[in-house]
Symmetry: D2
Subunit: 281 residues, 4 copies
């Protein structure tokens, strides 16, 4: 998967019909574009067609997109991404494990994104963040209504204009309005193996249930709390020996890895959202 600067990723989500791959690949062929990697999946319950094509060459993206719309079904969602790093905003509260992992990764050039800011409702992580040369925006929620606080955050995010918002352990519930404003652009890490232990303090719930494995789930945020499309999950064994706080510490290692994995998939334009599920190439 060596990728040069003229590499693009085409994502097509459309209703299935015969000849779609032919039509798309024909168009690319006519324009002298080479397909480096191709994945296709048909969801048979609703006959929905998903294709991710990595192609390279000298492309006029605008006219290509236009022509694709002409030859594909009218309900097609077509996206063409170039290889430029995406702009992301991180949100956090007080814990540094997910935030720190992303900052270290970014500095080590292992995150194909520009972290343009960190936003928090506390100032605990300000010094930590700024050390990495990343702007930190402290938007306190104190003495503000939820609506007012969120309004400020929304305005701030809009002004930063990110491609994605990453909730790196941001411990406040987002309103329907917030979610709608940045639809399909908010990625969360939930500290349980969803749908187990929905809601508050999942590690304590896991401890009390006596489970032998705990996990973490990264998902897109929708209005239904902890119910959005799952991108990545992973687990780790625990035993009767761990207190719930020890389970939490163990779980934090899973959280940071799952969030990074999910984020890398999204940043590499590998993820479709369909019916509260993801299709990942």
């Amino acid at each position: 998967m060596q990728i040069n600067n003229m590499t693009y990723k085409l994502l097509v989500n459309t209703s299935d019909e015969t000849g779609l791959i032919y039509k798309i690949s024909n168009l690319l062929y006519q324009r002298n574009l080479n397909i480096d990697e191709n994945g296709e999946f048909v969801e048979t319950e609703q006959d929905r067609f998903f294709m991710r094509t990595v192609f390279s060459g000298d492309a006029d993206i605008e006219s290509l997109e236009k022509e694709l719309h002409e030859i594909l079904p009218s309900d097609s969602v077509i996206k063409i991404h170039d290889n430029k790093p995406k702009r992301i905003v991180l949100m956090a509260t007080k814990e540094n494990h997910c935030l720190g992992d992303l900052l270290v990764r970014s500095e080590g050039l292992r995150l194909n994104a520009n972290i343009i800011a960190v936003i928090s409702n506390y100032d605990n992580l300000q010094n930590f963040t700024e050390r990495f040369g990343i702007p930190f925006h402290y938007v306190s929620h104190e003495n503000k209504s939820r609506e007012q606080h969120e309004g400020e955050v929304v305005e701030l995010i809009k002004s930063l204009n990110p491609d994605y918002i990453v909730l790196a352990k941001y411990m406040r519930i987002l309103s329907a309005n917030f979610v709608e404003t940045f639809k399909e652009r908010i990625i969360n890490i939930h500290h349980s193996f969803l749908p187990a232990f929905i809601g508050a303090n999942p590690y304590k719930q896991a401890f009390e249930r006596g489970v032998k494995i705990i996990g973490a789930t990264s998902h897109f945020v929708t209005n239904d709390l902890d119910e959005g499309p799952i991108i990545a999950q992973n687990v780790i064994p625990v035993s009767h020996k761990e207190s719930w706080k020890e389970m939490r510490n163990i779980g934090w290692d899973v959280e940071k890895n799952v969030l990074a994995r999910a984020l890398n998939l999204v940043l590499d334009d590998r993820v479709f959202i369909h019916n509260n599920k993801t299709i990942i190439f």
Copy 2:
């Protein structure tokens, strides 16, 4: 962990106080018994002490047990197991994956137990079972009340006098009476990563939720459906590509392994039950 015929396993579950290990090990020392392996755990919420000691030598088990009761707190639960294979009864319905795994394991001398019978409410697995030289008891539930059918099964199990009853995909819900009759002796395999997807058709639930990992859980059966003390769990990755039936097939491989692992732990007298959890050495 080489084990000779004079090896015993002592399990003590008692309220914690200073000197318990000293008292127990002193007694074994006085009787010239050698400790080969020792595990101890104190549950600090209720100050409960658990110890599993593998010892060897020439032991008078009855008098040892009596003396242990004399020196330990009055609420002590004391068990001494020799190394004889335990007697188990398997129950199944129609699927052969868990049953087959245990039968093959047993024939290959990889199960430290005697499978004394298989009981089923269908006759589908009769020929399959009998090939392995294991008696098959077909107790149909047709034209019988639940009470009546269970009564027959209970009588049959009582007559077989097993140490443990293994539900190797027995797809009927057991009554409170049944569970009470064989308390802490019934081991089930549940086809999900509990507590996710409690109830019917967990693979379909998992498919619909779009999870990226599915799992299985082996647990002791209590009155609360799918809520008993968990012995072992494991998971396996899935993706959007699998239909729910394919997920089920993938999950079946996890089920059989988790059940076998849990069963081996129980057969090796490694599992304490405490407050709807297990403590496993």
Copy 3:
């Protein structure tokens, strides 16, 4: 991935050039065949193109294959498989865990293949095999040269005409001639996480090295012992507590699962062999 009786799998392995997907999909489109699933991968070191296409419809396979050869590069390897169960021969020696797993799976309709025979150089597993209604061929190696014994086995296999030969713990080394005769059709399970612990008694080697994880590897057999293209691998944790025989028992559970997984991938025509590696869709 619902598959009807008119579903086919097309596998193309060719040198890369622009327009391959277009050419192939065009041909299918002209013949009114629908692409249900498509995976494509370009190996960039040698510019090699691999494509697996699941298509359905009313196909004249012979003429389709001919036409594909006409439009694709001359070095193309093109295979079109229908959905009929493949014919497999299992070979084993004395251990029943891999053999038993495949037999139980097959009887439970969870193996998309017909097991047409089991061959062994011992008769230990004869009764076990025949219970499942599968012919058992005992070809003793006693008082025979290696060449003579293998010659008999080769003749037997040729007469059975299987698509694949599965070494389900067949503990004899195969000659170059044997491997060449059934080239790319022999699947083995090796009892270590290759390339760790090549050679004899890998569990003892693992025990002596004090590893914390053991594993198993399923691979196509080539002339270089334990060096063929890897299809699937998996691992399981161990600790200082296990003797090497206990490690072996633990490992056997991994072996049987890895072998079944690899076999399912091969039976579903998902595996390309390229330069001593596999490409798996």
Copy 4:
């Protein structure tokens, strides 16, 4: 495992004989010390006894240790650790993933140790390290013999007087003298699933072999390169899609987690070294 300030960990490594647990627990009982957790293991090949006991109370450690030596076999190795954070020195070269993980963990109070310094033969990570308030010692190897360079590093480490030295991707081979000087106190992370891919560039080796799983190994350093006692290992799946550089990036996530896990085990006094293996409670 709630631990107060008067909690101690006793580690006994001695030749096995009857009554050891009794003798030790008796001594603790006489001194009114409470055993909170106890693990014991007998290595049967050489009849070696290992015990780790967590006890609490008002202890005179010096006299306790003296008395233990009096009652235990003369070849006993006895250690009693209090609960104070250990002093560790990290060594790194240019990559920030392991170093960054430990620094973030330490700042988040998830590492029971004081990182007293980072030492490197390059200055690439100086700014990165110092941001966390940790002293960075740049000891260049340029224009110096290996002996001379190592001599400087040894002197520096001696002056820092750490309990453990953690090679967080320190890419230079250590001499026998260095290893001997800090015997059983140097912890390394090796970028493969040892003993697979010993030596240089294991990710490239893994890529070329076409493995389906890669891993990492944390071990104590001995004179034999990549051959010291293994503390922890873990793996992650890969496929034909990844280039070896992508495998390396994937592997780095495993490396940092395995190193942290191994380090936590060592810092919690859970690890015995015995015959080039570890025994871990």
